[in-house]
């Protein structure tokens, strides 16, 4: 049953208005990155006369976004891979293995998923100092793995709980060990759940700001969001340069979102929301 066009048209118009409210600021920022400083004054939504990449080059080298980008890639890759791996193991323990103490372990893990970062940041600073990794990328990676496995464990546990018992029983009869059952039987069918977890942890880690702001002081160790925040303080009037920096920060998450949209939306509707 479809709408007749008379009913469809007003619906379209309203939707378009709300969509433009979302898209116009992003589009305006995007085009600003290609403009010159004088063109910025010529109207916010005018198009650049020349789609030049000069601003990106300047942000990349002079603004040191090349360094920040590299740091973000290292931190995000390390956090995503280790969190998904550890969460698969611990989720399997909760969802499919005998686990004495499960009743108090589960709420214990749950707390980490619910607390705001503000609750952990103060002692973390001191802790990094004590174990001697202050001002290294490890100081960003380890806490974010800790926070991510909290959500990841619950996410994977609920997947393993809902896999049919016949499947693992059959594997047992065939002589598979628990380890083999996990990787040969369950892992292949876990792909949608794992992909969702992967893209969510990717997005959270890539966008994380407070930990990265506090736990490293060395400019050469900043991640992209922190780099952009300091960049903004320094070049506050240079809109084209800042727009170029903002696009470098946002583009990877936007690309992954467009490619894996289904997984993103499912995960975030499942109660995982950014702070």
């Amino acid at each position: 049953m479809k709408y007749p066009w008379k009913k469809l048209l007003p619906r379209y118009l309203i939707l378009v208005v709300f969509m433009l409210v979302v898209l116009l600021p992003i589009w305006g920022m995007f085009t600003s990155a290609f403009k010159t400083s004088t063109e910025i004054m010529g109207g916010p939504f005018s198009l650049p006369s020349n789609w030049s990449l000069d601003n990106f080059g300047q942000a990349w080298r002079v603004g040191r976004f090349n360094v920040f980008f590299k740091n973000s890639v290292i931190v995000t890759t390390a956090v995503v891979i280790s969190s998904v791996f550890l969460s698969t193991l611990s989720g399997y323990a909760f969802g499919a293995l005998p686990l004495p103490g499960k009743n108090w372990l589960f709420p214990l893990m749950l707390i980490g998923y619910m607390v705001p970062f503000e609750a952990v940041i103060i002692p973390l600073y001191k802790l990094m100092d004590t174990i001697g990794i202050n001002d290294t990328l490890w100081a960003l990676i380890l806490p974010q793995v800790g926070l991510s496995v909290s959500f990841g464990t619950m996410w994977m546990a609920s997947f393993f709980e809902n896999t049919p018992g016949e499947l693992t029983d059959a594997a047992t009869i065939d002589g598979c060990s628990r380890w083999q059952t996990l990787w040969h039987i369950l892992w292949p069918i876990a792909k949608p759940a794992v992909t969702t977890l992967l893209v969510l942890i990717f997005m959270w880690t890539w966008n994380e700001f407070l930990l990265a702001l506090v736990l490293v002081q060395n400019e050469a160790l900043r991640t992209l969001p922190v780099g952009l925040a300091f960049f903004q303080g320094k070049y506050t009037a240079n809109i084209p340069l800042m727009a170029a920096g903002a696009i470098i920060v946002a583009l990877p998450t936007i690309l992954i979102y467009v490619l894996f949209q289904r997984f993103f939306i499912r995960g975030m509707l499942g109660g995982a929301v950014k702070g």
Partner: protein
Amino acid sequence: MANVTNKYPGESRWKGWLYLLPALLVYLLFTFLPILETIRSSFFQWDGFSQNKVWIGLANYAELFTDPKFHNALRNNLIFVIFYSIIPIMIGLFLASLLSRRPIPGFAFFRTALFLPQVISMVVVGVIWRWMFNPIFGPINTFLRQIGLDSLAISWLGDFTWALPAVGSIGTWVQYGFCMVLFLAGMQHIQDEYYEAASLDGANAFRQFIHITVPGLRSEIAVALVTTIIAALRVFDLVYTTTRGGPGESTMVTGFLIYRAAFTNNRIGYAAAIATVLTVIILIISLFIRRFQRQGIEENA
């Protein structure tokens, strides 16, 4: 769930611990123990680096509850709840009700676009909106001048009255698409028969919305409420990049107050007390979300 208790012949009942241990250790060391340490610190007076760490009992909490700066920050967080939560949910319900029941061509594109702010770094969102609100060449003031409202073209983020609603409306911009998508997903579970029966009874679209759609989305509305409220309570990145709490204290929020107390004013104990109070508030609300989610799942099953 027979497989949970099924034991392999000769398998230790502690096998699960072997799989849990790596994740548990990282979690305990870098998340759980720091939470406990924050709570412990809140009973001390400490500058963060000296040996002079003095137990002062509940004094930090006593100070907190009479500190006008904390009251102001908490009040601003509550005003953010209106912008982050109430308004986006109303817009989301309105949009979802326009779309719900029949397929609209090209809908997938609208959904992709409306959800987009959710995936962008809040620092980038802050950069975008500082440009939008720029008093001289920002799009908002340019537009106001073009339609002859020059007197309204003020310095939004630098104004004592308007900075808070200006930053708050950025939250609205981020959240309403999320609410819409959430509600649309929920509407798929409302049976068409209800609407058909209501139509036969002569109920108009508005009455159908109030009496069928809204009650049918009860658990989704609860999820939206609690998630967006938590976002409003822990806001930090956005305030840091747009106003740093200013002008004066007009956009100061609890998250930023913690940051300032701990890392600018070196009052670790006091910052820990604020963080503990904020955490308790958020935990209480989070427990609600879990309950409503579980109810939602049971209803759908």
